[in-house]
Structure formats: C-alpha cells, structure tokens
Symmetry: C2
Subunit: 375 residues, 2 copies
DNA sequence: AGGAGACATGATAGCGCTATCTTCGATTTT
DNA sequence: AAAATCGAAGATAGCGCTATCATGTCTCCT
C-alpha cells in the first residue's frame, strides 16, 4: 500500500485486455445487456407469456446476439430436475435392442427429456453400477431392461423414489411400471405351433442362454410345452458366442450331428435362423420339407430369404415408445390406466415352416396368435 | 404479531410429521452423520488419498449406510464440467450408425463420461437444434456425424470453445478433430474395381441420396471415375425410402427395366445388395455371371448369402472408438499426433463379383485396396 | 527448543439458475 | 376519488456441490 499508483510506470496497458478470455454467457449478461433483471430474462425464455411483448422481443434478440445458451446443469440444480431419463439396455452390439432405444428416444426427446444411455452387456453387476451412477443425475425416471435385477439394484431404485419402467419382459411383480411381452409365452406358443403341425422332434438353438434371463424363460416355456405334448424336450442347443448369421449355421450343424432326426428348430433370433437356412441350402437340406425353421424377433432378414422364415414378431419399437409415453404421463402427474402392459407378440407364418408347398404371401398373413392382455 | 402463541389451540400435533417426506441425502447429511466437515466427505469420495485412512473408512461406511449418491448436477455446476459428451448421429433406425455409437460409448463410459444421444434423421435443421440444446449441458466435447453442417451450427460450436470431433466422413477443412474415411474415395474405388474387371455398364443404386451428404460424395466419386474410364455414368438409381432388404429388390427391378444391359451394380448399403441378390435368385438371374453386385459397409449379411456379396468394409466401430479416444486425450491435455485421421476402407471381394467361377475364400481375402492416410 | 514445512481438515464463497416473495404502477370497481 | 385488483418486473435465497483459502496439528531439522 505504499507507492500509490506508480505514475512512473509508463505502460498504458489499461486497454490491453481486448482478447479477454470470453467467459460463458450467462443469464445476467443478457439481463445487463437489455437492462432488465435476470428473472425477466429467465421468464422470457421459459414462460414467454409472463413477459410483456416488447421486452420479450428485446430479450430474445439479445439472447441471439450474445449467443446465450441456457445452462441446463445450473437450471437442473435450481429446479431440482434436470429433465434427464436414463435407459439401460443389454447391448448395442445386438441389433435387437436398438429399436427399444429408438422408441424411447423418439418420445422422450419430443418432450424435452434428455436420455442417458447405459449398456450392461448382460451383467447384473454392471447394471448395478450403472443404476447407481445414473441416479447421480437425479433423473426424473429410469428405464431398465428386463425384470431381473440384483437385490441391491432394487433397493437403490426404491430409495430413489422415482418412476421406474421395466421394459421388454413382463413380471408378475414389477417394481413399478412394466411394458413388454412374456418371453415365457413365446416359448410356449412356439412349441405349440410346431406340435400342432405334427412335428415331434423339436429343437431350440440359441445364444447367451445362460446369462440372458429372457432366453431362460423362453426356453422354460418351450420345454414345458413340449413335455405337455409328450415330446422330448432335451433338444436344446446353446452357445455363448454373440448372435450372428454365421453362428446359426454352426448351431444347425452341431444339432444335426448329434440328433439327425430333428424335424423343426426354433432359433433364439432371426439371424441365427437365417444362418441355419443358408447352411441348409449349402448342404442341400430342403426347408421346410426336411426341416422346419422358426426365428425370433421378426427382423427384416426373415422376410427376405428364400424361403422366407417364420418368425415371432415382437413389439420392440412399440415397447420403447409406450414405455416412454407412460413415463411422461406419470411425470406429468396424470394417472396411468395400467402400470403393466402386455404388448403381446405374434407368430408370423412364412414358408420355412410350411410343410405343404405353398410359396405365397410374404408379410404376416397368417396363423399367428395375437396376444394383448393388459392388466 | 398480536396474539402470541395462542395457547388456546389444543392441537398437540408437534410430532405429527413422522412420515417425513424423505429428502435427498446430501453431502452434509453424510458429514453430520460422521461428525466431520462436508469437504472431508467430498474429498474422501473423489480423492481418497487426501483423507486419512480411518476417517475414510468411516465416511465410506456412512455413505453406504445412508445411501448417499453424489449429485452430478450440483457437482457439475460447482466444478464447471458435468463430464458429459453429446454424440449426434443421423439415425438409430439404420443399423449402420449404431457401431459408431457403440464405439464411442464403450470408450467414453470407461473414462467416466456420460454420453448424451441425439439423432438428426438426416436433417441439418434438427442437427442445429440438437447442437444448441446439447451445448446447454456445457459438455466437455461434442461428437458430430459427417462434416457438412449449417453455418449456424458451425458458429455456435466455435463459440462453445470445446473440442469438436467430426466422425464418419473426412473433410479437407475439419472444424477440429476429424476421424473417418473418405466416402468420395469409396465411390472412386468401387468404380475402379468394376472398370478393371472389364465391366462397362455400371450402375449405382441407393437411398437417401439427396439428403445424405455422404452418399452424394460417394456417387460423385463413382461417376467421375466412370467418366475417366470412358463409361456411361448416368446409371444412378435413387430412392428416398429407408434402407431395407426389400427395397434392394425393387431398386434392382427398376434399374433392369430401364437399362436391361446393366452388368454391375454398386449398392449404397449391404441390405440393398442382399435384397437385389435375393431378387435375382427369384428371377433366375445368375450372380455374378449375368450381374455383378457389390454392397457397402460389409455387414454380416453380405458374408452369409450364397453367393456371398462383395462389399466395402468400413471402420465404423473403430471410428467411434478412436474418435472417443482422441477426445479423451485432448480433454486430458495431451497433445494429439494428428487431428485428422483417415481410417480407410477396404473392398472385400466375394463371389458376387467374380465372373470367373470361383466360390472360394469367404473373409476378406482379396483384391481390396487398403487405405490409411493420416494427416 | 523453535520455526519451517507437510499434512489433514474446516470454513467460505460461489457455479448459474429457478422459486418465491415483494414492489410498483396501471387498471378496475363502486 | 379511494380502495381493491391485477400484471409485470425485480430482489433474494437457496439447489448441492467444488475450489480455494484458512486453520490447526504433527513432524522434522538445525
């Protein structure tokens, strides 16, 4: 505090800070620029009708001019909700899960929610971590795949006191909201389908059957039904490689090698079924005359092969959309008609299971069983 | 302020709030519970080595007991970064873009970043909105698809002063970091491939060719090369429907109807190529003897059909991973060896373009040109 | 023994916004 | 014309955390 404003110093750099390290533009920057209080700016942006016309115009103009972007983090803190919804799916590598994501995204994005993505790679431990991490965003709701979670996950979610939506599979005792279809019933109806057609040597071939609870349930329904019909139910072939067309061919070969008398195979996914079909073509096995093939998920490939492959259509996109819609309703405080919705599935019959030669109708013409129970 | 604490009121409901609406557990709840300052708890969670062993133990225990979850929103506000990285892709409906997302997700998740997802549906206007909305998270970086953006998008991004990564296509003048491969070169090399094999009636069939700048560039390279070889370059067939196997068949039919002399077709995606192949089988057109077919993106289906389809392998997963890795490096302040990386592509020759009967080698055996320029 | 560090912990000031309450003037009512 | 009413704008207090500085030990060295 001694030498007062040393005038000996000749540097006139009072204006040497033109390249000022431009900071973030904040609400009050805009407010100052227009000459109003910052609340007015905040209102003009969120509830325009509460601000007089002329002011609003000036404010919006200033926002544009200064390039102001509302800080959603600060906004989230202040308002207690960041409008964030996590969605946790098993994997992005398997195309089957993407439509769920797409459905959820399309609806939530429209309502201004930000989705944050997590994949478990089928590991409950990862799911557990993800859930905890995502709860740190203090999300408005949370979407989970499947209905089988670790006790800790369930406990943590309950404590969060937010709407939880379990999608894909159905549970008898859902945590909260539940949308999807019963994988167990798929197994049952696939088996019934073959049984009714008179097949007796009926097999299942799939992947990740150990770690994916949905496969487990599907197989359970499949086996139970075969037993009820008095057929053998041990023709279950598993692999732990990821789904792929090529794998379908290998599964087929393995299965036929061990059990050459097999008449019909239900595959855990359409790509497997298609791979098996291609392999049949290579080996000269006639489909459906010598072997019937059914896929799962009704992906486009099953519609396009020659012969086209019978498959189980599943409401993937629809599940995602409805789940998101229900969540939005709930968040807006509107009562839900049902908290558990069975969107059903449908067996789409095509040539690959039509013993009697009949190479007609491509798209979902027939024989399917529709389900749509709501509870 | 008149009647002081009306003792006439007999209601003894001083304790009527036992079902207290449990609030969020905060840092200071934990701190109070342990009997320390809240900074100590904050440190114990983020920089454990700065807190003494015994205290740390007690704190972690209390965290667990109370079910404390760090509020990332508050944390983000206070620290100025929420560890968030948006990624904007064209669409989730088309499976081609998912591997990019998967690559990015896997790397960023590992580094504790939260990705937030946006899809443009090929509309620059949507991209513009998305970018602005996402900037509201004050992200650490931002990943964009393609290199063609509106002027406003570019301006807004520049002002954000964060690392931007453009993926998929390459630009001569990237905004910042750029990883991918040249779609123009794909067009060039696909055309060269056919020309060298002696084809002269060479067509292109694709989708979204108007609105997807990558298709546009690919076609440009394709046409230019055909012209250089002295062949006609007007056999370009477009559709605006989304990619699908079925569409491939229709494109094929349209093309053959107008130009029955076509010898070779380059399809904008593998599913189209597969659909065309299936249609050829239906119509009795022999592939490759009567018609050569090449796909794009080397998806699994092209490996599995009979004959297998020649396709252009593209580094989708790799691009996503590298882009994310480079972003992480940049964010950690480490210098990048290159800010623009060409990951190349590769023509995988299979039977669908082998005029001389030769049904051998499945996976990437031959003829391909590898590229890997880095700049 | 005395002071410089080194280390562990606490106190405090925001980050940028929204909820809420207050103020102020203009309009309406009788 | 005075009181009641209403709409528009401002002032203020946090939201839950982190950065930073201040404090208070406990060594370690000369």
């Amino acid at each position: 505090m001694k030498s007062q404003s040393t005038p000996t110093n000749p540097s006139p750099n009072q204006l040497e800070n033109p390249p000022l390290p431009r900071k973030r533009v904040t609400l009050s920057d805009v407010a100052n620029h227009v000459g109003v209080g910052l609340m007015t700016v905040s209102r003009a942006l969120r509830k325009p009708e509460m601000v007089s016309e002329p002011l609003r115009g000036k404010i919006l103009h200033a926002v544009d001019e200064l390039g102001y972007v509302r800080n959603r983090v600060a906004s989230g803190l202040a308002s207690g909700t960041a409008k964030v919804v996590p969605i946790i799916i098993p994997s992005l590598l398997h195309s089957v899960y993407v439509p769920f994501l797409q459905g959820v995204y399309s609806v939530l994005a429209q309502h201004g929610y930000q989705i944050i993505l997590g994949t478990t790679e089928y590991l409950v431990s990862v799911e557990e971590q993800l859930v905890e991490a995502m709860l740190g965003w203090y999300p408005d709701g949370l979407l989970l795949s499947g209905v089988d979670h670790s006790a800790r996950t369930v406990a943590v979610l309950r404590r969060a006191r937010i709407p939880i939506v379990e999608i894909m599979d159905l549970s008898d005792a859902p945590m909260d909201i539940n949308v999807g279809f019963s994988h167990y019933r798929v197994g049952v109806e696939a088996a019934e389908y073959f049984c009714r057609k008179g097949y007796t040597q009926i097999a299942y071939a799939g992947t990740l059957t150990e770690i994916d609870p949905r496969s487990v349930k599907c197989i359970a329904g499949f086996q139970k039904t075969l037993k009820e019909y008095g057929h053998r139910s041990d023709l279950i072939h598993r692999s732990n490689e990821p789904f792929s067309i090529a794998l379908g061919g290998r599964l087929l070969n393995d299965l036929l090698e061990k059990h050459p008398t097999i008449e019909a195979i239900f595959f855990g996914n359409d790509d497997l079924a298609a791979g098996a079909l291609f392999e049949c073509q290579r080996r000269g096995i006639k489909v459906p005359e010598q072997l019937a093939i059914m896929g799962f998920n009704d992906q486009e490939i099953s519609r396009s092969t020659i012969p086209a492959i019978t498959s189980v259509w599943t409401p993937r996109l629809e599940t995602g959309q409805l789940a998101a819609q229900m969540l939005v309703e709930e968040l807006h405080g509107r009562a839900l008609a049902a908290r558990r919705v069975d969107l059903g599935f449908k067996i789409i019959q095509r040539e690959s299971t039509n013993r009697v030669r009949n190479n007609v109708h491509f798209s979902g013409t027939g024989g399917g069983t529709a389900r749509g129970t709501k509870s």
